[in-house]
């Protein structure tokens, strides 16, 4: 059953990736990326990682798609991808080399669900054994994120805030926008 679901999701992932390559319309591309994220979220559920699936479904499918669409809407022209006929060899070589490196890298990854692999030997074993006893939280992911790795999560939240501040500083200045509009004679 799991194999069939995996196969279906992966085949559709491949179809989405090819469709993104094939389409020339940026709006369609944004929607296809959203669907791609939804399929990845489905894969995370199959891999028993509902916490990550939640995030992927909400951020990847929902918010980032909306942000891409809003960005496209705020640019008046250029919704069609223009392809130039010249240097096509270099991107192809980069993609092939990068893909080969990534596939080579997967050989070092631990087998899925292998209990004797390195990540499951050290701290993970302790979290699983003592987690509930020490934090009283049944959801182990929350226990690790919020308590054992509280420092990392604090950094993560600060990164989110910093990103927001960065966008506000770049785009949030309404006065500057108005000056620009005046300069354009609007």
């Amino acid at each position: 059953m799991s194999l069939a679901v995996n196969l279906l999701l992966l085949v559709f992932l491949l179809v989405m990736a090819l469709a993104v390559l094939k389409t020339r319309h940026l709006f369609a591309m944004a929607m296809l990326f959203g669907l791609y994220s939804l399929l990845v979220a489905g894969l995370f559920v199959v891999l028993d990682a509902p916490d990550v699936a939640f995030t992927e479904a909400a951020v990847g499918t929902g918010i980032s798609t909306v942000l891409m669409l809003v960005t496209l809407a705020s640019t008046k022209s250029g919704h069609e991808l223009v392809s130039s006929e010249k240097s096509r060899a270099a991107p192809l070589i980069i993609c092939v080399v990068m893909g080969a490196l990534l596939i080579y890298g997967t050989h070092d990854l631990a087998e899925l669900g292998d209990a004797s692999s390195a990540p499951h030997q050290e701290v993970a074993a302790r979290y699983i054994e003592k987690g509930q006893e020490e934090t009283g939280v049944p959801n182990l992911v929350t226990a690790v994120l919020a308590s054992y790795r509280g420092f990392d999560t604090l950094g993560e939240v600060t990164v989110v805030l910093t990103a927001g501040i960065g966008v506000l500083m770049l785009l949030g200045n309404r006065k500057k926008l108005r000056v620009k509009e005046l300069a354009n004679g609007k």
Partner: protein
């Protein structure tokens, strides 16, 4: 899109349910999948849906931008505040065990409060990002 009756009705019915689900994910994150980050993102998606259907001005009336800026900073402050509070009570930074009489109760309080901070910051920043981008869309 503001004139599409079906969209308006569906949005009106759906957004409270999404917000309720976000709150469930936020406060039930100790027991089931979820937590502050996921809850914040789900909450902000409800606001995004509302803004997409009813327009940016209606959404700004619902949540003024200043409130979002304050919320985003407040979330990180709450998180850091829990760390400082546990230092004042004699533990290490972000050691929740000292927050209550027993370590387990302390952990519980600490986790719930920091998850609240995470949710507040993530929800505020996501909506703020959308508002900032959407303001650049010229009215037709």
């Amino acid at each position: 899109m503001a004139n599409d009756l079906i969209l308006r009705v569906i949005t009106k019915w759906l957004s409270p349910i999404i917000i309720l689900f976000a709150l469930y994910v936020q406060f039930h994150g100790d027991y089931s999948p979820g937590g502050g980050f996921q809850a914040g993102v789900i909450f902000s998606s409800a606001i995004l849906l509302y803004a997409l259907t009813y327009g940016l001005d209606a959404a700004l009336q619902l949540i003024p931008e200043m409130a979002l800026r304050i919320g985003a900073s407040l979330g990180v402050l709450i998180y850091g505040g829990v760390g400082v509070a546990s230092m004042i009570l004699g533990g290490n930074f972000l050691n929740y065990s000292v927050l209550a009489s027993t370590p387990i109760a302390g952990q519980h309080i600490g986790i719930i409060v920091i998850e609240l901070g995470v949710g507040l910051t993530v929800a505020s920043v996501m909506v703020l990002l959308f508002f900032t981008f959407a303001r650049r869309v010229a009215p037709e």
